[in-house]
């Protein structure tokens, strides 16, 4: 949008942007190079490219020895089921808030929306004893189920806020036409509302995926080593104070790639979803 021909100012603007983006790219370059090169080489500075060798050993080390492979699987299990569950119960609830009248509607909506502001710490500490009471503390799949339910409860506020705003945008004429044809609420929900609100659902799915995948605090608090997600594995490697920068770098890249890939593939939906979430 160069409105005037003052080339000097343009130079300054591009110069400043170049410096800033360099600052932003330095950590990325650092982690990529540290993950792809042997530790011995990066000790002299990863930017030293003379005689550089590249290897996938660090990824193998992270996946096998550091046990981040199984944690990656855990992350996919937790995130996949959490997103599916939050969308299912969230979409049903959104329909009720947008199209139906019922007692307690205002109060329930208020409580759900409050969770967007109240910090997760308000539920965190009693959850562990609560998991033991409910039998989610140990077992093969029970901890996963518990975690999925906690993420679902925590994501509901956002789910109702975002998907609700998309469902509210569906013209009432369409749903009324359905009612005249004798369709029940569930038919209207499934055949009319869901297909039309699909972009909103996809937006929410991406944001929830990124949110759940990136969670550290809940995983660290509630899950044992066999069920812990990737973020917990990386945080534990990091705090171990051992000089394992190569393996940690590879692990960090493993953790970064899935949400990044999703973002790049569905960028349009992600940004639109963020805007419906308060930035209008």
């Amino acid at each position: 949008m160069s409105r005037r021909g003052d080339i000097g100012a343009m130079w300054w603007i591009y110069g400043l942007l170049a410096v800033l983006s360099l600052l932003w790219l330095v950590p990325v370059a650092t982690v990529v190079m540290s993950a792809l090169r042997p530790l011995g080489e990066i000790r002299d500075g990863w930017w030293n490219l003379a005689g550089a060798t590249f290897t996938i050993d660090n990824f193998l080390g992270a996946w096998n020895e550091a046990d981040l492979g199984s944690k990656t699987v855990n992350s996919f299990i937790i995130t996949g089921f959490s997103v599916a569950s939050t969308i299912s119960i969230g979409a049903l609830a959104s329909y009720a808030f947008v199209r139906l009248r019922f007692r307690g509607r205002g109060l329930i909506y208020f409580l759900l929306i409050s969770t967007m502001i109240v910090p997760v710490q308000i539920i965190l500490i009693p959850l562990l004893p609560w998991f033991r009471t409910l039998g989610f503390a140990e077992g093969s799949w029970q901890p996963f189920l518990g975690m999925v339910l906690v993420h679902s409860a925590f994501g509901l506020g956002w789910a109702v806020f975002m998907m609700g705003s998309f469902m509210a945008a569906v013209p009432t004429e369409l749903t009324e036409a359905g009612q005249i044809d004798g369709a029940g609420h569930f038919d209207i929900f499934r055949r009319i509302i869901l297909p039309l609100a699909l972009p909103g659902i996809v937006s929410f799915a991406i944001i929830d995926f990124v949110f759940v995948w990136n969670d550290l605090l809940l995983g660290l608090t509630l899950l044992d080593a066999d069920h812990a997600p990737l973020t917990v594995g990386i945080a534990n490697l990091q705090s171990a104070h051992l000089a394992q920068q190569d393996v940690i770098s590879a692990g960090a890249l493993l953790a970064i790639l899935p949400p990044l890939a999703l973002f790049v593939a569905l960028n349009r939906y992600y940004v639109r979803g963020l805007f419906s979430g308060g930035v209008k």
């Binding site: 009720a96 308000i122 965190l124 949400p259 805007f275």
Partner: protein, 323 residues
Amino acid sequence: MHEREAGWRSAYLFILPALLVFALFYLWPAVNTIISSFFTWSILAPWQAHDPDTWRFAGLGNYAAVLADGRFWNAALNTLIWLVVFPLLATFLSLLIALLVWEIGRGARFFRTVFVLPMTVSLTAAGVLWVLVFNPQFGVLSAALGAIGLDGAQLDAGPLQVRLSDWLSNPGSLALGPVTIEFVNLSAILPAVWALTGFGVISFTAGLTSISPELIEAATVEGASRYRIARDVVIPQLRGAMVIVAVVFVIYALRTFDVVWVTTQGGPGTDSEVVAVLLWRKALAFFDTPSAGQATAIAVLLSAVMVVGAYPYLRSLLRDRPE
């Protein structure tokens, strides 16, 4: 009347699954946090509603203990540093970047992508990346400072101590009477700025596209400089976006945990321990110490501050309620 009741019944069917999950895994734990903050308990011997044997009533004891604890006020100070530095820095940088990118034509997409992509990176991973950058042996920061002869440079000006090394242990401090601001907090804040600035860039960019071109054209015709236009015409139009961006950043700063946990673990000592980290340690570092009640008291205090502070934002979210 009959029809209305039928409507209610199906409404409850739609809302029931959500309500059940929410009640069991949010509402009850939240209520549990509040009630158990008035009891003495540990993770291994928790306060339990159904078992009066576990009720060791402490009254306001947990709150009194927390508020009398120097470690709590240390954590509160570090959180306050977060509250001031993080939103200011992140909002300023994202506004600057959004404006700069908006000014250029060619390359706008590239630059915007560079700043927005870190938003998808977890704060855990962002912390790992920056620990590498801060590494004293092969980190970029030390190398760059070394190249201009400033690596390890020290400034000793009475209350102000600066050391351009040891970014994660002791980069210096500023003593202000009874309180000391530890600069190691900045080392934890920086990765968060790196990761979350993209949110501000997106928000401000959206705000910028909704400014009418006529407004800017008129100012240009009057001969206003690029800088004057940005300051007097464009930025006032971004007020709404600025409020939302600042509020979101403040909310993040208040409950920050991940990035501190990964970069400094709150250390050295408790120099960068924030409230969320202290809370976690009080309850979960040792399962059998009976200070979980104090941790829930801290959680209640933290949430109260958050709800009061962000209440206008909550109101604005509720205004969008579907009718």
